[in-house]
């Protein structure tokens, strides 16, 4: 067990560096995690490393007491029973609607065909956004390289997460709407939140200090 007395689910990928930096400041020894890219379970440090989209799953089932994941993941899995305790501020990205630069394929399809085709990895966020804005869309679920979908003519536009917009621009896409800004969030298992209240409050208190 680590200095916090908690098992922590750390997201692999873009949020991992920022999360490990925060844990260092809490006094957790993350050296082994940093040195070992393939290992997943670090019992000594009280850390498990999982895909960001799996963090709520591990935390909900109590395999980890707390975890860090993106707000986009939480919005995409609202049925997960976890506490969302803190906006950690880093990993800032925008969930956007984008289309091929220069033509209005989404508007044109809506006008002439009554619905637009939208490719995304985030079908719940995209579905809710178009429903809330009164537009009918057909969602095409894809797993990756979403930018390709409108270039091939398969869809009129995409909903995707972007930090700088560079990948979109390099593929000849432009952002037309911003849906929500997503940052890293600290989440907790509902039972751990009660039974390990002091440990969790200590982490929240310390992170509030450093996240500001």
């Amino acid at each position: 067990m680590n200095a916090t007395g908690l098992t922590i689910a750390v997201p692999r990928g873009a949020l991992m560096g920022g999360t490990l930096d925060l844990l260092d400041r809490l006094g957790v020894d993350t050296a082994e995690v940093r040195a070992n890219d393939r290992k997943l379970l670090f019992e000594e440090a009280g850390i498990v490393t999982v895909r960001p989209s799996d963090v709520p799953t591990y935390v909900e089932h109590g395999a980890a007491d707390i975890g860090v994941t993106g707000k986009d993941v939480l919005l995409e899995s609202p049925e997960r029973e976890v506490y969302e305790l803190l906006d950690l501020g880093y990993g800032r990205c925008d969930m956007v609607v984008a289309r091929r630069s220069g033509d209005d394929a989404i508007g044109e399809s809506l006008r002439r065909l009554g619905r637009a085709r939208i490719a995304t990895k985030y079908t719940r966020i995209a579905g809710a956004h178009f429903a809330a804005t009164g537009r009918q869309v057909e969602l095409v679920a894809v797993k990756g390289a979403v930018e390709l979908a409108p270039l091939t003519g398969m869809v009129d536009g995409i909903v995707d997460l972007t930090a700088t917009g560079r990948t979109l621009a390099e593929n000849g896409l432009e952002v037309v709407e911003s849906i929500v800004t997503c940052t890293a969030r600290l989440i907790a298992n509902p039972v751990a939140h009660k039974l390990k209240a002091a440990e969790i409050d200590a982490v929240v208190g310390a992170l509030r200090e450093v996240a500001r």
Binding site: E81, P190, K194, A197
Partner: protein, 321 residues
């Protein structure tokens, strides 16, 4: 060819069934020994009768009978028992102690692991108002879980109406109550804080609304001044005294942010935990207005335990020993 069963239902085979029945038997014996008489109610009832109890929204499963009447599967046992008390025990006064062990039915989300059909074993204590009644059901649930083989279980104790009353007392505009309570129910404390900030309240009112869901722990939690909602804390302090007298105060976690999603709770609410598993084993609370919806009002409170979850916790505790 594999013939499927509906998601959220399951077949139970002999090895598991033996253990489930053993646990259920120990829970029922603990309740019977404490003077709780077992009742049985129909699995299907008229939809409008169940709906009169309010609670968890519309029934998840409905059907028509041969007369064209709409029947529904019960979503819990508390509403049917409230109906039984108001109709079969209409003339009785003095405390009434009832227990049950029966299946109830709820809608499930898309994720796996949630049960549409689940076995609940529980108690209802009718006619004993206030902390005395609450302490009796909490103590009995804790004892029953011990008899079922758990050693490290705890009980969360809060007040289901605390946040709602606080919003009214702090003169938060009515139209924002729903949103704030929804944040609390889905445990999104980040959104809750943002929305409270946006209300532009005085600093102490804002801090209270933000901090309250985080206030949980021993009886010292009850010393936090909660201004206009202080009477709820007085009642929880009284409950703490009763639990101390019964020697189980150290099992209680006072949790001012505890909310239960059933709509009929009017005061104290409970949730049972075991450190070996990441989900609650059951819960309950005080529902002083529910029986009145079926007849003359009587104060009441109860707790239901999910037998399958207790079983999972018991095996997990066993493995950790």
């Amino acid at each position: 060819m594999i013939h499927q069963i509906p998601a959220g239902t399951r077949d139970v085979l002999p090895d598991e069934m033996r253990e489930l029945r053993a646990i259920e038997g120990r829970l029922r014996a603990a309740f019977a020994d404490a003077g709780y008489g077992e009742v049985w109610t129909p699995t299907v009832e008229y939809e409008d009768v169940l709906a009169a109890g309010g609670g968890g929204g519309p029934a998840a499963f409905r059907m028509f009978d041969d007369q064209g009447q709409v029947l529904a599967l019960r979503a819990d046992m508390t509403v049917p028992i409230a109906r039984v008390v108001a109709t079969r025990f209409a003339g009785s006064d003095g405390p009434l102690r009832l227990c049950y062990s029966a299946h109830a039915y709820r809608a499930v989300g898309q994720r796996t692991g949630q049960q549409r059909e689940f076995l609940q074993t529980g108690i209802e204590l009718i006619g004993l108002a206030g902390a005395a009644g609450e302490a009796e059901v909490v103590a009995l649930a804790v004892e029953a879980l011990g008899a079922a083989g758990l050693a490290r279980h705890r009980v969360g104790v809060g007040d289901g109406g605390l946040y709602r009353r606080l919003l009214a007392a702090l003169e938060v505009p009515d139209d924002s109550h729903g949103e704030l309570l929804a944040c609390l129910t889905r445990r999104d404390l980040v959104a809750l804080e943002l929305r409270v900030e946006a209300l532009g309240l005085a600093a102490d009112a804002r801090d209270l609304l933000v901090e309250l869901p985080q206030l949980r722990g021993g009886p010292e939690v009850l010393d936090r001044g909660v201004g206009p909602a202080g009477d709820a804390l007085d009642r929880l302090r009284e409950l703490h005294g009763e639990l101390e007298a019964r020697g189980i105060a150290d099992r209680a976690i006072f949790d001012l942010g505890l909310v239960r999603d059933l709509g009929y709770y009017t005061g104290a609410v409970f949730e049972l935990y075991d450190p070996a598993v990441g989900f609650a084993l059951g819960g309950g609370g005080r529902y002083d207005e529910l029986i009145g919806r079926f007849g003359s009002p009587r104060p009441a409170c109860g707790i239901a335990l999910d037998v399958q979850r207790v079983h999972i916790a018991q095996t997990a505790e066993e493995q950790q020993r």
